[in-house]
Structure formats: C-alpha cells, structure tokens
Symmetry: C2
Subunit: 335 residues, 2 copies
DNA sequence: CTGAAAGCGCTTACAG
DNA sequence: CTGAAAGCGCTTACAG
C-alpha cells in the first residue's frame, strides 16, 4: 500500500496526497483534502519511512551514547530523555560505549550514517569527539553532552551546581564536628579540576581545616570502586566520608562494615546523586540529590529545540542540588 | 558522494559497484574488483542507509521494549543484548514501556513502521501482543520474549529454571530449621501459576510444612514493593523471607530494620537474581543467581539466528540458577 | 487549485 | 565479464 493507492482511491495525484499529508496543502480545496484524509484513514496509510527519509532525512530518531546502561545514574537520565522524545514521536538508538572513547566514536560514526537528527552523549569522563566536529571546528550534528560539567564549553551545559552541592555536604560534616573528612573521587577524570573537588576543598579552607592529600582516593564511580576506595581511606583516621556518588557510598558501606565500624556511630557518610535506593540503605544515606531525570529531560528538550532552531544558541541550564539529610551522619562525640 | 562517484572514478558502471560491494560480484574480473574496492576505500564510501533500505529493508536494527530501564534486571539484559548485536553491526532502538501494555503496542507499531528486523520484548508481566501477530496467528515479525516464563509457548523460551531456583532457596531455609517462611511475590502476574511459586509450594509440601495463604504477599518487583510487602509480612510471625527479586529484598531490609529486627539474627532473607549489589548489602544477601547478561545475549543471538533462518524453529534455552550463600540467612536458634 | 515529471541513491532482473 | 534500465516510494520545483 503506497501513496499511489491513496491517490488512485481519492481520485487525485500523488503530489496532492503528499502535500496534504505534509501540511503543505493549504492551497487545496476542502473537498480534496477531505477525500484524501478519508482514504488515508481508511487504509491506515503511513508514508514509507525509508522512502520519506531518502528525500527528507527527517528520521525522527536521535542517538544516545552512555558509558554503562546498568549505572543507575545513566539509566535514570535515559528515562528522562525518553520521556520527552516519546511525546514528540522521536525514537532513541541506544549505544553502550562501555566507557571506551574509541567505541563512542565508532557509535557516533554509525549514528551519523543513519542520519539521526541529533546525539546525546553521556559520559562522566573527558570526551574526545573528533566525529562530532567538522574540520573547521563547527558541529557536524546537533548534540548535547551530559558530562557532569567535565568538558568546559559556553553553551549547552547541563549540570548541577556541583561546587555548591559538594560544599554543602562537606559543610554539613564540618558542622557536626568532623575535621578528618575523606573524599572518594572519580578515577578517570582529573579530580583536581572538578567543581565537586573544589567545593570540598574550598569548604575545608573556609573552616581552616588543613587539606590532606591522603584523604582523597580516586576510583571508578561504581559500587566496587567505592568499596575499594573506602578500604584504602579507612587506613587514614577519618571520621567522615564524602562519596563521589551514591553507588560508591554503597560500596563504602560494606568496606566500613568489614572494618568493624558502624555508620554513623564511628564514621559519617554522605553520597551524591540522590538515587531512590539511598532511602532504603541501612542506615539510610544522607546524599546530595540532583534531578537526574530532569537532566535527561532537558537534554532531550534542548536537543530537539536546537534541531528545530539551529541558528539559536543552546541554552545552559544549571540545576540546584539539595542536601537530603538522612541517617548516615552524626555529630562527633567529642564535639 | 554517491555510488555514481565511485563508479565514475573507478571507470565502471554503478551496477558493478553495487554488486561488488554486496558480495555478489564473483563474476567480475579481479582487476575490476580491485579498482572498485580501492576507490571505495579512498573515498570512505558507504551506501546511503535509506536508499539501501528502500530497496532491501536490511535495516540492521532491532527494537527492544522494556518496562523500566532503571530496573537493574532489565538494564543488565540490555547490556547482554547490546553485546551480541554490536558485534554484528546491529543497533538497538530502545523503548521504555513503563509497564504499560498499551505503550508496548504503540512502540511495536512504530518499530514495525521503521522496519526493524526483529523485536525483543521484555516484561515481567503477561503480555498482550496483537501487534506482533498476523490475523492468521502467524508472526508478523521475528521476536523474542523475555518474560520470566510467564507466557507459555513451545519455542523461543528463554528462562531460568525458576522452579528449581525457588525450591532450592526455600529448601535452604527449611534446612536451617525455618518453617514459617514468607514469600514476596509479583503483583501483576498471577503468582499462582508461576514456577517460582510452585517451587516454594512444592518445597513446603515435600517437607510437610503447611502452606499459609497469609505468608504470601504480592507487590511490584521494586525496592518500594519489597519494602511495603515486607512491612505487611512482618505482621505474621515468620522467621524467614523469600523475595521475588533482589530489589524487593533491598526494600525488605529496610522494613525489617524499621521493625527493630536484625538480619539474619531475627529473620533470614533470600533474594532472587544475583545482582552485583547483593554482595555489598549489609549483611550480604543470599540470593538465587541467574545469568541475566546471558539471557540478554542469547535473546539477541536467537533473534538474529531466526532472522537469518526464518524457517527454523527458535530453540528454547533454560538457564540454571545457583543459590549463592552469603550472610543473610542463619540457622534457627531453636533448631 | 492541481498534477506531470524529475530526482533522492540505491538494487536487481535482464540483455548482451 | 559488464552495464543500461526499471523500480523502490516518496518529495518538491515548476508549469499551467
């Protein structure tokens, strides 16, 4: 069943059918429109996806590359992206880069080949993106990065106020009397340059607590990474631990338990992200919540807006974090 | 840059280029082949995706529908699917049905419109699939269900031996002296007919423990569902709890803690799935592990095999579970 | 207000 | 061993 059939049954030309279906048919008489629309409805006709795209490249598809789909942060982001795109009839080609920069580029190449209309690239690490740029440095395709602010740029930034979030978390610990505060950071990014680390450092400074190199351990942002990092940090005599994300905190819980210590009696712990699961840990985890779903939602929104309006700059959007107090922190006894 | 350019530069016809690139060029002289291949390489030519598909519909794409991408079970399945498909150059269009049967069908319709070569549909619930079938009952498109065995069929079953897994879990509890054993089951499936429930029931029978209706609570297979279900079950004087999945167990941990009880001192808990996180819970969770990644991997493999060989029956594959003993169960004191 | 015709970039049946 | 031509199902510039 093709446009020809519709044209024949409606007694018009295929041009007419095409124009009317593509909302370019103002010039046709109401009767003609009606006839065409009726036939289309009756046959449940829909223009062939590939024939249509050969001409117009309106694929109504975007590509999404994530480093690890089983990471609760990224799956939540995807959920937000999907929410917005679904409302608009767009679909997502999902690519799991497995944290490999090489794979990211291979996927992007294939996505370009398939004429996706835009790409959302999520990664907690610095990104190498030769494939997204033309030789003159302009963008080859509309894209949005979800990178926790690692890659600096002046438009299309979608990040939570990391500095503030980290600062408040550490300040909370300081206010509870803690002065030996460890931090579990991200291995593959340079923690020295992240806002999250700056927040930690600045807070110590403001409260005149000397900064100790040994209180920082960098690991993968995973449960396992948190477990290993915490084991290492527990060698130091810290009384509190600020974790790079909630998953690391979950790993830290186990390490702390194995070290024979209790949370929060012996050590206070704060996470970052605000995953649902933090409510259910025992004890529930105090965490710096960020609106992960919304980040995905706005990534999708900004991308689509940009596709529809390529001339306009992509806005930046900063989300506020919220320190959610639960039961994993405690006032130092000596305080 | 089109096939015309390649033909011109190689000094041959476009037919020749097409045939050689599509491995149908045995008949051409080695020199011709070489010339064409050289030009293709130099230009980095690749046939236009849409032009090619208008003729051949080899979209190298499959659709994947899951009820909730943030569910650790499904994200792990997707990882397995992706692994296999990626090796073959296939890509995945991901659809989040949000547990809605209506959305599942809308997505399937759109996937059909986009000529995906196959569909993997994951759902823990009974599935309504008018869109996947022709009027005569035959399949409209190759597809594989990942449904935990809920929808009975004689081919393409991909399930773990649920009966056995559940039986062993409950038997373990019985062997530790437990006789009041609760079960957190899945709300939206009819637990009466699932193998997991049969395993539970049969084990009680074999050990002559009377079955109690009140020991079964059905909730969503989520952390929250587990939390609520456990709260309810803790009203009963059970000494052990078999959870429908690990996420429910995580929720149960919190409910148990809030009830002022300790695991495993006051109550033993067993989960189902074997998620990585179970190693990190405190105490670590004894669980019935199933090879989730492999389930996804084989779903992809069977689907692709079926696409390549539509005549052959899709095999069934049963995976064995493994009861992984950790620290959430304990011999009853009175035993 | 409407439609014939060119064109999008391929594949394939067929002729030589 | 090779290629001209038809066809896949659309959209769009153009003519009337």
């Amino acid at each position: 069943m093709t446009i020809k059939d519709v044209a024949r049954l409606a007694g018009v030309s295929i041009t007419t059918v095409s124009q009317i279906l593509n909302k370019k048919g103002d010039r046709f008489s109401p009767e003609t429109r009606q006839k065409v629309l009726a036939v289309v409805k009756e046959l449940d006709y829909k223009a062939d996806y590939f024939a249509q795209n050969m001409v117009s490249k309106q694929t109504k598809t975007i590509g999404m590359v994530v480093p690890d789909i089983t990471d609760l942060f990224f799956s939540k982001v995807i959920e937000g992206v999907e929410k917005h795109l679904n409302e608009l009839g767009f679909m997502i080609i999902l690519c799991n880069s497995n944290h490999s920069s090489e794979k990211e580029n291979l996927y992007i190449e294939e996505l370009l080949h398939r004429s996706v209309e835009g790409i959302i690239l999520a990664s907690p690490n610095p990104i190498h993106l030769p494939k997204l740029k033309n030789e003159d440095g302009s963008n080859k395709i509309p894209h949005i990065l979800i990178d926790r602010g690692i890659n600096k740029r002046d438009e299309g930034q979608l990040i939570t106020n990391e500095f503030q979030g980290a600062y408040e978390a550490v300040e909370h610990l300081v206010n509870l009397g803690h002065r030996e505060i460890g931090m579990l950071s991200n291995e593959t990014s340079f923690y020295e340059i992240t806002d999250r680390f700056y927040g930690y450092k600045k807070c110590l400074e403001d409260y005149q607590i000397p900064f100790q190199e040994e209180w920082i351990v960098s690991k993968n942002l995973t449960i396992k990474g948190g477990y290993e990092g915490a084991q290492q940090l527990l060698q130091q005599n810290i009384t509190a631990l600020f974790c790079g994300n909630d998953q690391m905190a979950i790993g830290a819980y186990r390490a702390i338990n194995e070290a024979g210590k209790q949370i929060p009696k012996d050590i206070s712990v704060i996470g970052y992200d605000g995953l649902e699961i933090t409510d259910y840990l025992v004890p529930s985890l105090t965490t710096v919540a960020q609106p992960i779903f919304e980040i995905g939602y706005f990534a999708a929104k900004f991308l689509i807006d940009h596709i529809n309006n390529p001339k306009e700059k992509v806005p930046n959007k900063y989300f506020d974090t919220q320190l959610v107090l639960k039961n994993s922190t405690k006032k130092l006894d000596s305080f």
